[in-house]
Symmetry: C2
Subunit: 329 residues, 2 copies
């Protein structure tokens, strides 16, 4: 079968390509062809026995979506997006990349199906940013999408389109509202959410990290490993089980910063915890105060999606997947 990843050069895209290269089958079918697409040409994944094509393309550019659909992949993972901060800073770019390009992809798939029967599985990476305060302490599957960012608006619109195109039979869509990914590998960045990962990843590598908020801040997390599991599950689930509501809030772990730190202490000791410097930042605290704290992801759990149940697990996954099993320092 032919699997296409759009947004294959991002953190999740690379991990997904690597996972599929190492486990080249989905739903009992072998993956013979992997198409990896991103704005910059993605690297081919190591060790893949089948054919991999790696392509630089801007999905929002005229003809780009049609060229993707013309290859008639069996499964399309659509992970490409400009992130929240950028979509907020550049209104037009956000709508162009996150809405217009996504709609162009759906339209290209529909047009392809009008030439000859074609109805690919389309797995769309959405986000808990579709939700906006005020919300209850625990957000259920029936809660409204009322985003407070342009990014969240674009993701919520794409979810609506995905459901309508699926209902019409143009594609077999499933949208996944990913939790904040923690521990995000790589260097600290300026995202307001960065500290959730920084305060674990940096001490595990023997480096200092800055904590800008109080220990009582609660948020919704899943590991990169769990995210790959969500995508693989979405690619193979029986669509009959989904019904008309095609986007699912993914399971995750609701934890406070204090609980993160105690897990770090259990896994890596006091020495690691002492590397966290508390430098309160009221601006970041204000942003984070508007974020969801917990979900009751009942539908996704009943459909076989699963995430970590403790931060100890999340930290151990990071040590295994990113640090070769060894804590640094």
């Amino acid at each position: 079968m032919h699997v296409m990843i759009i947004g294959a050069a991002g953190m999740i895209g690379r991990k997904l390509a690597g996972h599929l290269a190492a486990n080249p089958h989905l739903g009992g079918r072998d993956i013979g062809l992997l198409s990896l697409i991103d704005i910059a040409r993605p690297e081919p994944p190591a060790g893949f026995k089948g054919e991999a094509t790696c392509l630089a393309a801007d999905l929002a550019a005229p003809g780009a979506a049609a060229a993707c659909a013309a290859k008639r992949p069996d499964i399309i993972f659509h992970l490409a997006a400009v992130v929240s901060g950028e979509a907020e800073a550049d209104f037009e770019k956000g709508y162009r990349t996150n809405l217009d390009a996504t709609r162009a992809l759906f339209e290209a798939v529909r047009a392809e199906g009008q030439k000859a029967p074609y109805r690919p599985r389309l797995v769309f990476a959405s986000s808990i940013a579709v939700f906006g305060a005020p919300f209850p302490d625990v957000i259920g599957d029936d809660f409204l999408a009322a985003p407070l960012t342009s990014y969240g608006t674009q993701k919520a619109i794409a979810e609506l389109l995905l459901a309508d195109y699926s209902r019409r039979g143009f594609l077999e869509g499933i949208g996944l509202r990913l939790p904040t990914i923690c521990i995000r590998p790589g260097r600290p960045n300026k995202a307001a959410s960065g500290f959730f990962s920084n305060i674990l990843r940096e001490p595990l590598a023997g480096q200092e990290a800055v904590l800008p908020v109080g220990e009582d801040v609660r948020h919704w997390h899943a590991s990169p490993r769990a995210a790959i599991g969500f995508l693989v599950r979405a690619a193979t689930i029986d669509p009959e089980l989904l019904g008309a509501r095609r986007s699912l809030t993914m399971p995750g772990l609701s934890a406070t910063v204090g609980e993160q730190i105690e897990a770090l202490r259990r896994v890596a000791g006091d020495k690691a915890v002492r590397l966290i410097r508390r430098v309160p930042d009221p601006a970041i605290a204000a942003i984070v105060a508007g974020w969801p704290r917990a979900f009751d992801a009942r539908r996704a759990l009943s459909l076989g999606f699963s995430a970590e149940s403790s931060f100890d697990e999340i930290i151990r996954a990071h040590i295994e997947d990113e640090l070769g099993g060894r804590i640094g320092a």
Copy 2:
């Protein structure tokens, strides 16, 4: 002030234009100019003392939205849409008219504001079609929009855009999810919802009407008069009271067909009720079974929107507004 109605030739658009012609002020300001726009040139409203311009234009055509915004109306009522059945039958036309034209209007307003400060009030007619089964018996203000039609999808997307454009300060948007309008004036049509009006309007005019469903069918109604009241309230409400959630489920009356018929009996007697012929139609019954039955429209009620509290009232409003106060037959 300058008030523009896009979709001014429709049933609600005509009534709104007539109301504003007779009551030429909004929020304490006089209406000097009424711009009425629709696919077919709208009739100028009778008795308006100010200037009225009536224009045939397709908002989805290139340049049409920009031409509307260039007139810099203080208030824009955006009522134009292709209806549910047509949007379902013609996928491309529905998206073009209900999504692309609406987004073009919002974009034209934003572009106008980049030339010189401009932030009109934009009142958008949405619909309870943004909701799809399964739902609770009573739908609250926090319930998700999970439409089961392309029409509902397009309205839900427009609501998301309206909120984001408002949050960004490009316009002052407010979306109204209108109940099923009952008693809809005019001749019986083939809309699946038509019978809710037919079984009252036709007997009140001495004509037979067909009832295709059982008397226990429950639905959510408001009169044309109430709908005009919603639009006028939306045009004058303090936007600070709305917060980030810019679309409101309008109040209405949850009633069964049996309750409709008993109200008809009280107002117009057994003779009128005897004009209702029961001709069960399983296809219509199946469609209607997926429709919402009742809402708890708490937010809208607290913001001063109000509707009828009995079907007797709805019937009397029809007799006053459409029949010159006299029951026919």
